[in-house]
């Protein structure tokens, strides 16, 4: 049996590589029995989806602008 800490580590790791089948079975068993780890897994999946979208839409949605001073400097550099 694996504990909650190990389960959390594997929930993350399975997003980055295919886990060995024994490990997958152990994780699945733990998640079937532990409601809070199941919630954790759902939130990790959500964090992944949210980050994927945030990474793509950042140019339109992330707050922040180039300073006017910086824009002026870039324009000068482009003109040279």
């Amino acid at each position: 049996m694996i504990g909650c800490r190990e389960s959390a580590r594997l929930i993350s790791e399975q997003r980055d590589r295919r886990l060995p089948w024994r490990t997958r079975v152990a994780l699945r068993l733990h998640l079937a029995l532990c409601k809070l780890c199941k919630v954790y897994a759902t939130q990790m999946a959500a964090l992944g989806r949210i980050s994927n979208v945030a990474g793509v839409v950042a140019p339109d949605r992330c707050p922040g602008t180039l300073s006017e001073e910086r824009k002026r400097r870039i324009k000068e550099a482009l003109d040279r």
């Binding site: 800490r5 919630v39 949210i50 990474g55 339109d60």
Partner: protein
């Protein structure tokens, strides 16, 4: 026939006004420091000017510029490597960031496309990212914002796959906890 020629969006003198802010926003999510983000945007425009002839218009100009910027950011990570400390690589360190959810908070199931419309969400996300150790933040950014494969990220950061998995686990655990307390619980 009219003499009204379309405005030439490929004229470099218009680039900064039309794409400067978008490039800056792309960069600031990934590097955090506004001065550095500005430098990377500036380098991007200068490289784009040199490579202008290579732009064939297969993609939009914006997409082309962002592709260049993405490389600049990864180059920056490669040239200014962060020494990964032993404590960065412990998965069960004292005071580890792993914590169970203690209850189900429904906001996690909001559609990402809705969340990203919310300015306060961006504030929470960028604050929480700022709380990560630099090496973890870079790993997370390349993996989850850019969707790079582990192998490529390992090369950029100079770490083994096992180290990378630990770093990503700790980054995700800490972000989850931070977002839960600053955004999802509001």
């Amino acid at each position: 026939m009219t003499n009204n020629r379309p405005v030439d969006e490929h004229d470099p003198s218009r680039w900064v006004d039309e794409h400067g802010d978008a490039l800056f926003r792309f960069a600031i999510l990934r590097v955090r420091d506004p001065e550095l983000a500005g430098d990377l945007v500036q380098d991007t425009f200068l490289s784009a000017l040199k490579a202008k002839e290579g732009f064939r218009g297969g993609s939009s100009l914006r997409t082309w510029l962002i592709g260049i910027l993405k490389h600049k950011i990864i180059d920056h990570y490669r040239k200014h490597r962060i020494e990964v400390s032993a404590s960065d690589l412990q998965s069960n360190a004292e005071g580890s960031d792993f914590e169970h959810a203690d209850r189900v908070t429904s906001r996690w199931s909001e559609a990402p496309s809705q969340l990203v419309e919310n300015r306060e969400f961006w504030g929470a996300l960028t604050n929480c990212l700022a709380g990560l150790p630099e090496a973890h933040r870079r790993a997370f950014s390349m993996r989850e914002f850019d969707g790079l494969e582990g192998e490529e990220i390992c090369k950029v950061l100079g770490v083994t796959p096992t180290n990378l998995w630990v770093m990503l686990h700790r980054a995700r655990a800490k972000l989850r906890k931070c977002l839960e307390s600053t955004w999802f619980e509001v």
